[in-house]
Symmetry: C2
Subunit: 321 residues, 2 copies
DNA sequence: TTGAAAGCGTTACCAA
DNA sequence: TTGGTAACGCTTTCAA
């Protein structure tokens, strides 16, 4: 593979001059520029990205930390981030943590490493890591960690409150809760809002109606099975549409009527929620991804103060409540 | 930020020795190793990734080309690839093309660039590009381009045949077809298999029962509306579970019974297909991602001959046929 | 407008 | 077991 020296030699100029045309600098004579471009063409020259990165001290690459790209929230987030990357000529490095603390910690290495210019946190189970991360490079979170790093996130607390209010209005006296990862920022916020709401309401909750680490349709089906062995609550708030769908599916198979016997709410408004007419929360996740990426990029360029902001959810009322 | 020279100086050894402990080489005295590690700790040293990449001539990073990460097929593929990357200590660079030819072409740059060690093609609209790509670095495709590059892909033709055979056995005399992008490789293969089957069977198809560019739940609902203005076929083969779900949903709302009045099949076996009990085709997409990544990595290491292979679909018979 | 040379932070070869 | 030094391929500063 030809390198910059080969080009310089063949064109009869110095590396500096070649570098100048490479970077579109002025102050290069028309003739030399033409010769250099010719030689490049002839030798099928292509600059080495790592050398550029090393020399410039930056990579035009941003990393994003997600537990799993298959999860609807995260792949929508990735899509938004990816779009901004395209527009602004950046590259997207995806780090899947599978909620593994060790992997979360290892991800910091990329930043330290200088292999990425900045990092977007999709979700993190050890927020304390953020303290160190932000000393290593620009970080933006898509969960509420605004006391530590700039954060853009949905008002999950408000969403939970809206759901509880809604099922209560529909006449529920008892309510269950099913979360994904209870240790994530989102998990904790949801849990807190749930507990908070109950304190000021006559709605009842008992530990037998609590579950977590439910992520899939099948997890929902399994949960339905468990719930059937006890008295059902009047309503259950589920942190994810697919899990809600699994619950509904299994309940109906077992002759439990939704919403008459139990009201069920989902989260995210993915297609399955529309198909099953699930009452759920809609959030513009792709947009969140875009905003986070834009924030990070302008941050990395010191173009603006880093700010946090809270995006509002909307309640989609359908047939399961 | 401390670099390797700083460490060497403070530890009173040469860069070479530091490099040796960094890479876990033997032939370093216990004592020096300890001193060096101490200094590293004290200075919070972290090696520069770009320098390593440049020096080694490789990055332990693989790229993957997808139209859109939000599409179910592609995010499942990404998930599989991502898992292998984790296991084998590699990093995943995601390139979203949005079907844009210019972006597909630009993606080659990463390979040329040496910023990635290999490239996985999720989908590409200009297969001729692959000719050049494979001269630039290792490439594996997840569509059928086996005449050009190693390819791992599903047998879509077989899947269509299985579906047609199944609905015919169930008594269908007339059948419709609904595709996504008819110009994609997958679209063409499916169409061809469909036409082929009809030639050797008494099943009937008419142009009024054909549709394409249907991608979403809503597209399915709209299609149901259109079909209702004409005589329904006995069965319809739909290229995507979400579209099938939309069809079913709208039909049921309009009092059409599925499968009695019309049998409907989907494709992909995503959660919505399980929720609605849709007869569909299951393809282990995450596994395809894993296999492709493993193929690429062993390829990049010259560990094996590059081979292509055809993965078999399975028919999931449920309640809509 | 051009070129020489000093980085950038590693690895790896060759001697010692 | 160690160290010196030449790569790796580019950018950038300083002089000319």
């Amino acid at each position: 593979m030809a390198n910059i020296s080969d080009i310089a030699k063949q064109a009869g100029v110095s590396k500096s001059t070649v570098s100048r045309v490479l970077n579109g600098h002025k102050h290069v004579s028309k003739e030399k520029r033409r010769i250099i471009l010719d030689v490049m063409e002839r030798l099928e020259y292509s600059p080495n990205g790592n050398a550029i990165n090393l020399s410039r001290g930056k990579t035009n690459t941003i990393g994003v930390l997600v537990p799993r790209v298959g999860h609807p929230f995260f792949h929508q987030l990735l899509e938004g981030i990816g779009l901004v990357c395209m527009e602004r000529n950046h590259t997207l490095l995806v780090i899947q943590t599978e909620h593994d603390p060790a992997k979360e910690e290892a991800s910091m290495q990329y930043l330290r490493d200088k292999r990425i210019d900045g990092l977007i946190i999709g979700a993190i189970s050890q927020p304390q890591l953020l303290e160190t991360m932000r000393t290593v490079g620009p970080v933006v979170a898509c969960e509420d960690h605004q006391d530590i790093v700039p954060s853009l996130f949905f008002n999950h607390g408000k969403a939970i409150t809206m759901l509880l209010q809604h099922v209560e209005e529909r006449g529920a006296k008892t309510v269950g809760l099913c979360l994904g990862n209870p240790d994530s920022g989102v998990g904790r916020v949801r849990r807190e809002a749930f507990d908070q709401y109950l304190k000021t309401s006559t709605l009842c909750h008992g530990i037998q109606w609590y579950a977590d680490r439910c992520y899939s349709f099948e997890d929902g089906q399994a949960l339905a099975g468990q719930l059937l062995t006890i008295d059902l609550p009047d309503a259950i708030i589920v942190g994810n549409d697919e899990v809600a769908a699994g619950l509904i599916d299994q309940f109906r198979k077992d002759g439990i009527r939704v919403p008459e016997d139990i009201a069920i709410t989902g989260f995210d408004d993915v297609p399955i929620a529309r198909a099953l007419e699930i009452t759920t929360i809609r959030q513009p996740v792709v947009m969140l991804g875009r905003l986070a990426a834009e924030q990070l990029l302008s941050d990395a360029l010191n173009q603006s103060e880093s700010a946090s902001s809270l995006l509002e959810p909307s309640l989609m009322i359908r047939q399961t409540t």
